[in-house]
């Protein structure tokens, strides 16, 4: 199977795990989508370093775009890539993030170190974020 196919299957599996198997339904929660938006920004930065410098290189046979060229950075945007990385990486990252949070929330729901709960932020952060 190609990387493209595997990521699509992966997304379907994590959605099924969230709604049908673990029933965590984190994909319906605002806290998930806000934290995922933050994660995806930093994924683009760090993955851009890994793929832009050619630390990790991809085969054109496995992705929508073409192979990482030898001794040159891949396309920044376009040719199936976003910030040097194959767009498949976004779906791979989605699977990694969602699976992680499903298990984390499921464990908490089942009483594994539900406490101590997170928060509250320190005063200096509250002032900076303009909350409370």
């Amino acid at each position: 199977m190609t990387y493209t196919e595997l990521t699509l299957i992966g997304v379907a599996i994590v959605i099924a795990l969230d709604f049908l198997v673990f029933k965590t339904k984190i994909l319906t929660r605002r806290v998930f989508w806000v934290s995922y938006s933050i994660v995806i920004f930093f994924q683009l930065v760090t993955n851009g370093i890994l793929t832009g410098f050619g630390i990790v290189e991809y085969s054109g046979d496995a992705i929508i775009g073409s192979s990482t060229p030898k001794d040159a950075p891949p396309t920044f945007l376009g040719d199936g890539r976003i910030v040097f990385a194959p767009i498949e990486d976004l779906l791979f990252g989605f699977c990694l993030v969602v699976l992680t949070l499903i298990i984390w929330v499921w464990l908490g729901r089942n009483g594994v170190q539900r406490d101590p709960k997170s928060g509250p932020p320190r005063k200096i952060v509250e002032r900076f974020l303009g909350i409370k």
């Binding site: 760090t46 890994l50 984390w104 320190r122």
Partner: protein, 111 residues
């Protein structure tokens, strides 16, 4: 750029999120058992994916930029560390948003 290029990016991820534990009191590292029990299955699943992708040639690594230490199924140590560190950063981000906004995540009480 060196053999430590890949792990330097991961180090940046760990250092870049560490302040959340202190300033947003995420208490993720303090819940070490829950953290480890979350990481283990994720590490197994994504190592299998990685092993398949490496075997099929979906992706390769430039030897100049990774440690050169290989674990099982030709998976570089750098990748194993990735599948440990990224889940930690993910949970820190998630708990930081909860800390700041008090939104429900579904684990507040036993069902």
């Amino acid at each position: 750029m060196s053999k430590f290029a890949y792990v330097s990016v991961l180090l940046g991820c760990i250092l870049g999120t560490a302040w959340l534990e202190v300033f947003l009191r995420t208490k993720v590292y303090r819940r070490a058992i829950r953290l480890v029990l979350t990481i283990l299955p994720v590490l197994v699943v994504f190592s299998v994916w990685d092993a398949y992708a490496i075997a099929q040639g979906h992706w390769t690594f430039d030897d100049r930029y990774i440690t050169g230490i290989t674990t099982i199924a030709n998976i570089p140590l750098d990748e194993i560390l990735f599948f440990i560190i990224i889940p930690i950063c993910t949970i820190l981000s998630f708990e930081a948003v909860r800390s700041a906004r008090n939104w429900e995540a579904g684990d507040e009480q036993a069902r």
